[in-house]
């Protein structure tokens, strides 16, 4: 105890006066560092509070209790005041930091973004997904074909008028007119049938070629999607129902379909399928020539000669096929007035989709 210095107990009113002064000083501090220094001075080991507490041991029991209580209460009030001041100053400091960090998000310098898929790819993938949902597989075949796959096996022998219906690009190789760029995706039908795995539910999207002069509605190189179903007991009614199903999946439930007779050498009976005009939804407009209908593609029951050519017995199996233009569908949907936009590859066009 000899090392202990002598400490005087607070005089009456002294604690209260000190607390008043401490309160004023805490309230006037305006940064966190000064607050920390002030806290040491007011409530630290060498503060009057600490000294006064040490003096209590020398007091009588009653006095000690009374002053002790007074000291504790005053200290608690000062502590509370300090904490609320600290919170306030922290909030102010953060607000200043945040304000200083402000970024104008409208003045960001552009960096290159992601690329765009070609519109034809987007439509093609959408169609593929619809048919996969219907339980079809996706098939593929070469674009340079033999006349057998493109014509003969599809019931279009040499000199058949249908060969000149679709003007073909023949290749300058082999015998006259023995190789060509496929005029339709139908050769894939033959390749699938030759595979011999029945029943068959497949689609074949791909690039086809016709000897047409390029204009706003035609390109000599374009894209088609072909569907083929071969199973037991497939009927014309099944074809109509299937066309109805995929048209609704693609265009929505408000779009109806109808079939009307047509001619394709590889189907019999053959039909063109039309859908409710998507522009006017059937009311009649310029796009549909006031009819309310637009032609989408061709279809029919697979001609028995086609099945026979690939070694499939038409008495056991029957089927249907359908096909339509992917580019045409894209044009219709997006009201594109010149199909040549597709091959121009202008980024101002590509990035719209």
């Amino acid at each position: 105890m000899s090392s202990m210095e002598h400490v005087a107990a607070p005089q009456p009113g002294e604690v209260e006066a000190f607390e008043t002064r401490a309160t004023e000083r805490v309230a006037s501090v305006d940064d966190l560092a000064s607050l920390d220094a002030l806290v040491a001075e007011l409530t630290g080991k060498r503060s009057p509070f600490a000294l006064w507490k040490r003096s209590l041991g020398g007091l009588a029991h009653d006095e000690r209790r009374a002053i002790g209580q007074e000291l504790n209460e005053a200290l608690a009030r000062v502590d509370a005041l300090v904490e609320s001041r600290r919170a306030l100053l922290a909030a102010v400091a953060r607000a200043a930091l945040v304000a200083a960090d402000r970024l104008d998000l409208t003045e960001v310098v552009a960096t290159p973004g992601a690329g765009h898929l070609h519109l034809v790819t987007q439509v093609r993938e959408e169609l593929e997904d619809v048919f996969v949902g219907m339980g079809y597989e996706i098939a593929d075949g070469p674009e340079a074909e033999t006349e057998w796959y493109n014509f003969t096996a599809l019931n279009v022998p040499r000199d058949h008028p249908a060969r000149s219906m679709q003007d073909s690009f023949y290749l300058a190789t082999g015998d006259r007119e023995s190789y060509l760029l496929r005029t339709q995706t139908s050769p894939v039908q033959v390749r699938l049938l030759e595979r011999g795995a029945l029943p068959l539910y497949a689609i074949a999207p791909g690039r086809v070629y016709r000897r047409d002069t390029a204009d706003a509605r035609h390109l000599p190189v374009f894209h088609q999607i072909e569907g083929i179903v071969v199973d037991r007991g497939v009927t014309f009614g099944d074809l109509a129902g299937t066309v109805e199903t995929f048209v609704m999946a693609i265009f929505g439930t408000g779009i109806a379909t109808r079939l009307r007779p047509a001619y394709f050498p590889f189907t019999e009976p053959s039909a063109e399928f039309e859908i409710t005009c998507t522009i006017c939804t059937g009311a009649g407009c310029r796009t549909c020539g006031q009819t309310g209908w637009i032609e989408l593609g061709g279809c029919g029951l697979i001609h028995p000669a086609v099945l026979e050519a690939s070694g499939v017995d038409p008495e056991q199996w029957s089927g249907f096929a359908f096909g339509f233009g992917i580019d045409r569908l894209a044009i219709m949907r997006h009201e594109i007035d010149d199909i040549r936009s597709f091959v121009e590859n202008d980024v101002r066009f590509l990035t719209q989709f």
Binding site: P112, A114, H116, L117, H118, V120, T121, V132, G133, M134, G135, E137, I138, D140, P161, M165, F169, Y170, L171, A172, T173, G174, R176, Y179, Y201, R207, Y209, R211, T213, L219, P220, V221, V229, T235, F236, G237, D238, A240, G241, T242, R258, R260, P261, A262, Y263, P265, E268, P269, A271, E272, L301, H303, E315, S318, F342, E344, N345, D346, V347, R348
Partner: protein, 856 residues
Amino acid sequence: MRVPLSWLQEFVPLATVPRDHEGVRDLGRVLDSLGLVVEGIEHVGDGLDEVVLARVLEIRAIKGAERIRQVLVDAGGPEPAEIVCGATNFAVGDVVPLAKVGAELPGRFVIGRRTLRGVVSDGMLCSARELGVGGDESGLLVLASTGSPDGPLPAGVEAGMPLAEHLGIVPDAVFDIAVEPNRPDCLCVTGIARDVAARLKLPFVVEVPAVAPSGAPASGLASVAIDAPEACHHLLARVVTGVAAVASPPEVARRLILAGMRPIGAVVDASNYVMLELGQPSHPYDLERLGGHGLAVRYARPGERLVTLDGVDRVLGRHTDALGRTTDVEDLVICDANGVAIGLAGVMGGAATEIGDSTTRVVIELAQFAPVVVARTAKRQGVRSEASARFERGVDPEGLTRAADRFCALLAAAAAHGGARAPVVAPGDLDAHPVSTPRRHVRVRVGRVNALLGTTLGADEVEALLAPIGFLARRAEDVPRSDGEGDAISPRQDGTGQQDVVLDVEVPSFRPDAEREVDVVEEVARHVGYERIAATPRRSPFVGTLGARTVRRRRLRRVLTGLGAHEAWTSSIVDPSLVGRAGAQHPVVAIANPMVHEESVLRAHLLPGLLGALRHNVAHRNPALRLFEIGRVFVPMEGDGLPGESEHVGVLLARDGDDAASAVHVLGVVAEQMGLDREALVLDQEVPVPEPLVVLGTHPSRRALVRAGAGTSEVLGVLGEVDPRVLEEFGIAGCGRVGWLVLDLGALDEAPARDRRARPVSRFPSSDVDLSFVLDDATPAAALESALRTSAGELCESVRLLESYRGPGIPSGGRSLTYRLRFCAPDRTLTDADVAGLRAACIAAVESGLPATLRG
């Protein structure tokens, strides 16, 4: 095929009135649903009510107006009508059409009373175009000029007379019908009438009265012969004498015009009219101009020449294709009795025997040719006539005599109308008929009809649907069966266990397309109406699948768009001059019959197309972009077979800062995202000679072959930069460096895949070691990296090139490469001693194996 309603009505009692547009449209819908697609309907004589002839009495200027004048006309009323008019091509005394107030001109344009510049106009004076009676819109349609307001009017002109009456316009509607190639029977009015009558359950009647022959027998006047019976099955000729050069009666001329033909004179018109009405082409000859007064059919001699009616001098019997190869071919000609060719059989007549005004004796020739022969000749000669269009699809073999009768009746009617003497038909047809065409019989199972269509038709219903279109069905048990007729089919039990009914169907002679059971099924479907066959859902028994290939292509597309590349689509048919422009010459697949030289070879490479796309965008001030394309390329194969076809992806990198390194980065991302074993891919800058086609157009010292592994010969593709010389050729040298990557997707699909099993990730801290080596330029960095990887061992997590430095402190001809190696053990924290050991091992391995030294 243009079909006037009035002509149809001659054979079917249709109640449709031409003026009733809705009714005409309804009939159009019936045609559509029969597969006779109506591509357009024209209304003739519409909008001419209240349009009358008016004579111009006086023309007055309007004060303050320069472009319009007031015109007083006599339109038959008690007072002159006052009209304001902007045209100036007429004078006082002219007769012009006046649309009176209330008239509704074509295009629903209603004429009302108007006031212009304070002057009232009681109607409108019209041009031919405004009335839909011609194309001229330069001024008013001036019908007559009399020179004065009160001079005499020409005959048939009267003020106030309806214009329609003056022009002889009869209201009609014309259907423009697209006839499918399998329906030669519908290339004539009666054929279409038959189908319509059947659908509407109306009677269909064609009556052709024969003209009684008289005078000298035809056999004494002319002769016919067939020297090529396999190509000409039937040749029938009739001789008509006393023929006058008269015009056709108005109704014949009017219908020819509506059907799209030009009236010429009674003889030619009658021939054309018969073809349009009955579908049988015929050709009239002037007997006087016919050498030896006879007709024969033979093949042309190779190189034989003939000037056809269109004035073209044609070489026959020989054909030269687009590649310059010449072959002898079978062109069929009609020749006279002296053997001189006078016409291209079934396609077009010759100029020498044409009917003229002086013609009095006519030989009308009707034939039946083998369709293939006519089709080949027409295609080779590049000429398709109304006749060849019919012959190549097949004309009715039983229709020749009826067509001859109709021709004679039309000639007689024309003579009567023209006030000429009646022509005389010589008795006895000249008839060579070496090949007859029996009617085909097809067996049709009623059960099969229902099985294919999904219908429940009875045998009686099938018979009733077929009878009106000429297909005569009888129960097969009533018909003895001859061998080789129709499909080899047998009755089947249907679901109810009842015996299927088999019909013997006799196909009408005008339906060469109906060959087997299924063709008759289609006829049943057509006449039931496709719209009445109930749609039934059919479910696939399979789970649908995109398939591995489509999945991989989709992923690749998304990786590339993620790298900022837009997908392009360029043509597979390219300009042969591009081949040289993108680098070295190489063999290409040529198209035998290109449209234009600029699109005459198949692309062997994606680069030229994508450079073209880049050039387009550069020209539109969008040079900084990345493009990719996935598509097929073609190379010729040895031995004249199908071309080799592969699927490539090409990526063109032309953003600011893009170069060969960007292409390496793209390959890395592609390899990683496509699940390839990235480490297995080797970049080989030693390109073998001769260069493979795939390196076409690349910068010789900034490119590398992509190989699937060290030492493999298989090349997956090429990456690097486009040769600046090539950029210059394309006019886009200003683009700076352009990175390029091309991969063969077929090879990529087969490339080694990354091990798909998961590797555990260590939970212990890792340590980095940075090592800088000086390496001479001849040694690729890949060798250093590979040496580091090998020596660093299993504890090495990654090896990454941080920096390449050339300059002070580094000997010229070399560079300093700094790699960061990260080490980590799966089961412990590596000690300093561990790391030091690994570091020393790496340095030793590199320095001993490569011309490299650690940089101090």
